[in-house]
């Protein structure tokens, strides 16, 4: 691909933040499901396999509705999503982060499914420091590995 013309520092920052998010997200998902809801903002839009999960029910969703399973990631990619598009007032605000994850869910009993999950991470403006929360989470199981 051609030499990148974008903002190098911006993209790099985005990418590293995204990586850190992914490692934390799935670690918590595998070991402390009941705490997962902390990642999500109060107005988060969450859709798992086509079913919307209201932000207020996230804690219950992760604690009880999720079957026992181990998540692992096989691929992670991140891109910045501009907060304000240039041309409106010329400033690009702190960029938001789009994260695309592909991985596997091991349900045990030799059932392994592949999943694809997409997050939009935005800055939590209620916190002073650079804290990012999930504004949207779309999850889907997209196949099963052959046994």
């Amino acid at each position: 691909m051609a030499v990148v013309q974008g903002n190098k520092a911006l993209t790099d920052f985005t990418v590293r933040s995204g990586e850190r998010f992914v490692s934390q997200y799935y670690d918590v998902l595998n070991s402390a499901k009941a705490e997962m809801h902390h990642f999500y903002g109060p107005a988060a839009v969450v859709v798992w396999n086509g079913f919307p999960v209201p932000a207020s029910s996230l804690q219950a969703f992760f604690s009880s509705s999720l079957p026992v399973a181990k998540f692992s990631t096989t691929s992670v990619d991140c891109q910045p999503v501009p907060g304000v598009l240039p041309g409106s007032d010329g400033n690009t605000a702190m960029a938001n982060i789009l994260v695309a994850v592909a991985g596997e869910i091991d349900y045990g009993k030799n059932v392994i499914k592949t999943f694809s999950q997409t997050f939009l991470l935005v800055q939590d403006t209620s916190k002073p420091k650079a804290v990012f929360i999930i504004a949207s989470d779309t999850f889907r199981e997209v196949g099963a590995t052959t046994e």
């Binding site: 990418v15 992914v22 509705s65 695309a100 052959t146």
Partner: protein, 561 residues
């Protein structure tokens, strides 16, 4: 025709009104029309229908408002709690006073033939059923002196059965004062094919006696109204019978239920027994959202993408703030997130890039140099190299990818609207299969697009794009090489991209029921919602219907995920 009048007495009632009692009874047995006379904790019912009266017997032992009920049902002339309906049944004959039959020590030919003709009269060849209730009340009974405590008589009877009706299927011995079943030890040899036996309204006092009966094929059994079964816990009764006659399916007219229950809350069991998997449904789009606009955009986007000239997509991407990158499956060995957890060194611990020789899918190898899997590509330079920024760069990148033909009918597109700062963006997660036309390779893919509204004066709008792309992340997966893989992938995708009009019109409670049912049995959305809908969205009725379907083997294979 005389009108039958059945009487039932119910003891152990909690405080309740007649109508409450009737409502409870009807909830258990269905239709019931009866005159009810209530006295304190007792109720006396007069019922015209024998069917309803028989059904009422099932209420014996049930709990009503935390009181255990005791139900006794008597037939028109005072007959006992039996419900076996057999040809020519005359079980209305009362017990009367104890039989005064003498014990005969031996039988001559005349007496034997008298017995045999009595048996013949009560035998129905069509149903292979012999009805020997209250044998002592037969006209010429004194001739053969039926006394079921008399070993000589019982042996004679069994011998007659063996000689005359060895293929007997049903035998009723009600109201015969039968006490000692050990005398019937030869029953199994005499009529080995016996399927139904009624010993109701006798004097059996111990289950141990049943051990003597060797009837392996027994399916229908009655032992009600005997000292041993009076006031017995129904579950224990079933157990005692089933351990001796494991094939019994109908006991005292009622089907044998599964087993005992345990004090577990319902949801614990559901969550533990759930087949692996999350419930899934079709493409998601918010009601009142930009669904149609997105559909229109996607159709146009994919059409141009599949055309020989992808440069038509230039104006679909934002001139400066658009990004494209791709990842390819199999570019790295199994890597778990542990590799990243605390280490400063971000090299994946178990990762190893693949060369041409050790990949499962060689057709993906060309993608690997472009694949921007952060778990595999760790240097900043490389990561920068593999993302395109700005529409010219993006178009440059995508025109170098293989020519494609997308299968839009099986694709799933979940769309959500979120705010990136002050800008509303539509995030579309597209999952489907694509054919690489040069070689005919078919592979599954995932594509994440973030779209935003094109201002009317923008180049995008001028070129006819209602929305334009800010982010585009493509993932190409291993080619589908056989039907089995195709099936797995396509089953994971629900049929058809659905716009807002296709979204299931279920309210949140219904969705929650569908999800729970799917979770419990691993049904897919369509089947779960169909069966719930067919049962009025009532969980108990649905479960009962499913059990019944399962027993008939009527749950289709495509009901599952």
């Amino acid at each position: 025709m005389e009108v039958e009048e059945w009487k039932a007495s119910i003891f152990g009632l909690p405080g309740c009104s007649v109508s409450e009692l009737l409502k409870f009874l009807r909830s258990k047995i269905g239709a019931l029309s009866a005159q009810v006379d209530m006295k304190g904790n007792k109720a006396f019912l007069t019922i015209a229908s024998s069917k309803q009266a028989n059904a009422l017997k099932r209420v014996d032992g049930m709990s009503f408002k935390r009181s255990k009920l005791s139900v006794r049902v008597t037939g028109p002339s005072g007959g006992g709690n039996s419900s076996m309906e057999m040809e020519g049944s005359s079980s209305r004959v009362g017990k009367g006073s104890k039989s005064k039959m003498p014990f005969k020590k031996s039988y001559n030919a005349n007496e034997i033939s008298a017995l045999e003709s009595a048996l013949a009269a009560r035998y129905d060849a069509g149903s292979q059923c012999l009805q020997l209730d209250a044998l002592h009340q037969v006209g010429n009974a004194r001739t053969f002196a039926p006394h079921f405590g008399n070993k000589v008589f019982v042996d004679l009877l069994l011998d007659c059965l063996r000689r005359n009706v060895p293929d007997l299927a049903m035998l009723s011995l009600q109201h015969n004062y039968i006490k000692d079943l050990r005398l019937f030890a030869g029953l199994g040899k005499a009529v080995p094919g016996l399927k139904a036996l009624s010993l109701a309204s006798n004097a059996v006092s111990s289950f141990k006696d049943l051990d003597a009966l060797a009837l392996p094929g027994l399916c229908i059994f009655e032992l009600g109204d005997n000292p041993v079964t009076r006031n017995i816990d129904p579950v224990e009764y079933q157990w005692q019978v089933l351990r001796r006659f494991p094939d019994v399916v109908t006991l005292d007219g009622a089907p044998t239920e599964a087993t005992v229950r345990f004090p577990l809350p319902d949801d614990v069991l559901a969550s533990v027994q759930a087949s692996p998997g999350l419930p899934a449904t079709g493409s998601y789009a918010e009601d009142g959202g930009p669904g149609e606009l997105v559909q229109a955009f996607l159709s146009k986007f994919l059409a141009v993408y599949d055309s020989p000239d992808r440069t038509g997509l230039l104006d679909a991407y934002h001139p400066t703030e658009s990004y494209f990158s791709l990842t390819a499956e199999g570019d790295i060995d199994d890597v778990t997130t542990d590799a990243f957890a605390k280490k400063k060194d971000r090299r994946p611990r178990r990762g190893r890039k693949k060369g041409k020789d050790d990949v499962a899918d060689p057709s993906l190898v060309d993608y690997y140099p472009l694949s921007r899997n952060l778990l595999a590509v760790t240097t900043v330079t490389e990561r920068m190299k593999r993302v395109a920024c700005g529409n010219i760069d993006v178009i440059n990148a995508i025109t170098h990818l293989r020519a494609t033909a997308h299968d839009t009918s099986s694709a799933v597109a979940d769309q959500v609207v979120a705010y990136a700062g002050s800008v509303p963006v539509i995030i579309v997660s597209l999952h489907g299969v694509v054919c690489e036309t040069a070689d005919g390779i078919v592979r599954p893919f995932d594509r994440i697009l973030t779209l935003t509204q094109a201002e009317p004066e923008s180049l995008a709008a001028a070129a006819g794009w209602p929305l334009y792309v800010i982010n585009d992340m493509l993932r190409v997966r291993k080619a589908i090489t056989n039907d089995r893989q195709a099936d797995t992938v396509l089953r994971a995708l629900s049929p058809g991209p659905s716009g807002p009009s296709d979204a299931p019109s279920l309210n949140p409670d219904q969705m929650s029921l569908v999800r729970e049912l799917s979770l419990q049995f691993n049904f897919n959305f369509e089947f779960a919602s169909a069966v719930l809908d067919a049962n009025g969205w009532m969980p108990d009725a649905t479960l009962a219907a499913l059990q019944e379907m399962d027993a008939r083997g009527a749950i289709p294979a495509n009901a599952y995920n």
